[in-house]
């Protein structure tokens, strides 16, 4: 395996929890460069917790997480899009996007130029000098995505980024994300509780589930979505993937191997 195809994220035997309360255990996962991996599972299974551990925001109790080092200068290994956009209301849109660029050794002008690139990608360059409170929920989430892309990450973590949006905005952002990933070099790890959303966007879907009631969740299955990109819910094969994933999540007590 050459360097270009080496995994950008490798997790081995990860255990996460709080003291004796283990939430997730034995998590193994590799994410290839530019790959889109979705993680699905029932509420409370620990999807967001695992994503935070991948992003270095939580330390695993056991096992390790390795992110490949960013090769480009003035970039970061990873960045994150949160469920709520969590923009800093005291910073204008452009200054919010610049957040991750601060401390990377860029001049003020370079930071401004770099911030405008992802803002342009998400179609918000004209709103760069606005305050976040003046933006709609969808626009705020786009700024959150631009903020994450600005640091040119090797891995972009997205924690249910569209779940708080109305259905129309969600659909629009889902299709924008499909376009964005084709123009970005980042691999994406995307947490969602919406199975259709996972099938719509991802190359692979990781199913997290508890083998028994009270046991920590683990990776039940990893399903490859072999449908061409720019997917539609009506296209053939889409429902099959959705049903297979639903079955895995819903019938947690009776494990069943699935390949696709």
């Amino acid at each position: 395996m050459n360097d270009a195809s080496a995994p950008v994220l490798t997790a081995r035997g990860v255990r996460l929890g709080f003291a004796d309360d283990v939430v997730l255990d034995d998590i193994d996962l590799e994410v290839a460069p530019r790959e889109f991996v979705a993680m699905v599972g029932a509420s409370g299974v620990g999807k967001s917790t695992l994503l935070r551990a991948f992003a270095g925001l939580l330390a695993p109790q056991r096992g390790d997480v390795h992110l490949s080092t960013a090769e480009a200068s003035a970039s970061r290994d990873c960045s994150m899009v949160f469920q709520a956009p969590r923009l800093f209301p005291w910073r204008r849109v452009r200054a919010n996007v610049e957040l991750g660029l601060e401390g990377l050794g860029l001049s003020r002008d370079e930071r401004r130029t770099r911030a405008m690139e992802p803002l342009s990608l998400v179609g918000l360059e004209e709103l760069a000098e606005r305050w976040p409170r003046t933006l709609s929920g969808g626009q705020q989430q786009r700024v959150g995505i631009a903020r994450a892309l600005a640091v040119r990450p090797r891995v972009l973590f997205m924690d249910e980024p569209f779940s708080a949006l109305d259905a129309l905005t969600r659909q629009r952002l889902q299709s924008e994300l499909t376009e964005l990933r084709q123009r970005s070099d980042a691999a994406i790890v995307f947490v969602t509780h919406d199975i259709e959303e996972a099938v719509l966007l991802a190359d692979r879907v990781v199913v997290l589930a508890k083998p028994d009631k009270g046991a920590p969740a683990t990776v039940r299955d990893i399903v490859t979505i072999d449908l061409p990109l720019a997917r539609r819910r009506e296209q053939s094969g889409f429902r099959d993937h959705v049903q297979r994933l639903e079955q895995h999540i819903g019938v947690a007590a009776t494990p069943e191997e699935t390949t696709s």
Binding site: R86, W90, G103, R147, V151
Partner: protein, 253 residues
């Protein structure tokens, strides 16, 4: 509030104040109130002018402003610094919390004996007393404002490589707590004026001392002149502060 509604409100306030002053004047002129208890409102401008011409008004105002400014700056800076440190550093919070609880209920004026023992009847003593009152207001508002910051902002900062203490302080704690901190500063502006007069009643030169002298001579008109002076100075400071506050917090409007 719409512009006509604002104008109506201003008009009602002005009419109400004018009515009160007229009643006050009338009550004295017709003998409903004894003239040795309160002065005639119509005498006040003349008495103010006489104080200005004698140079007394400017002297005492500058003197009080000096105590006030020094006490305000020291009390505010220390209050904000200690309040924020307590909110951000759990060990410091634990180390000082009992001391804070012990000292907080003691009114600033209770420190006057120590102020005089330590600094004498001097400007420093007045500034010290003023700074104590201002300190506690700023301490509590800063502490509460920093504690109320959504942890999510700190998580965002960490996710974007800004997790160090100084980055968090400059990029999150200070701007996010700014509305609360500025609220405390504004409250401190008022508290400072309340304390400045009380501190000067004990002989430190300034507005308070002049009011004490005048009351000893039953010159109630002079007392009222300086009461109005304090009100005008507070209104001026508050107005200027509001302008700055609006500018700093324009992201909220």
């Amino acid at each position: 509030m719409t512009r006509p509604a604002r104008h109506r409100r201003t008009l009602i306030s002005a009419v109400s104040l004018a009515t009160l002053v007229t009643l006050w004047e009338t009550a004295l002129r017709v003998g409903w109130l004894p003239s040795n208890l309160v002065p005639l409102p119509s005498q006040i401008p003349g008495v103010l002018w006489a104080e200005v011409l004698d140079g007394i008004w400017l002297d005492v105002v500058l003197s009080s402003l000096s105590h006030y400014s020094i006490g305000l700056v020291i009390g505010s800076v220390l209050g904000i610094a200690v309040g924020m440190a307590a909110a951000l550093l759990p060990r410091f919070d634990a180390a000082h919390s009992w001391l804070a609880r012990l000292l907080r209920p003691i009114p600033p004026l209770a420190w006057i004996p120590f102020a005089i023992i330590w600094f004498g009847v001097t400007e420093t003593a007045a500034a010290f007393i003023i700074s104590i009152g201002v300190f506690w207001i700023n301490y509590f508002t800063s502490y509460s404002a920093v504690r109320a910051i959504d942890d999510g902002y700190y998580e965002v900062a960490r996710a974007f490589g800004q997790g160090g203490f100084s980055a968090r302080l400059a990029k999150i704690s200070l701007p996010a707590a700014a509305p609360g901190i500025l609220g405390g500063l504004r409250a401190g502006l008022g508290q400072g004026w309340m304390t400045v007069v009380a501190a000067e009643l004990f002989g430190i030169p300034g507005i308070g001392q002049r009011m004490m002298e005048a009351s000893g001579l039953l010159a109630t008109d002079v007392v009222v002149v300086y009461m109005l002076t304090i009100a005008a100075l507070y209104a001026l400071f508050d107005f200027l502060f509001m302008r700055i506050q609006r500018r700093v917090l324009r992201w909220q409007q």
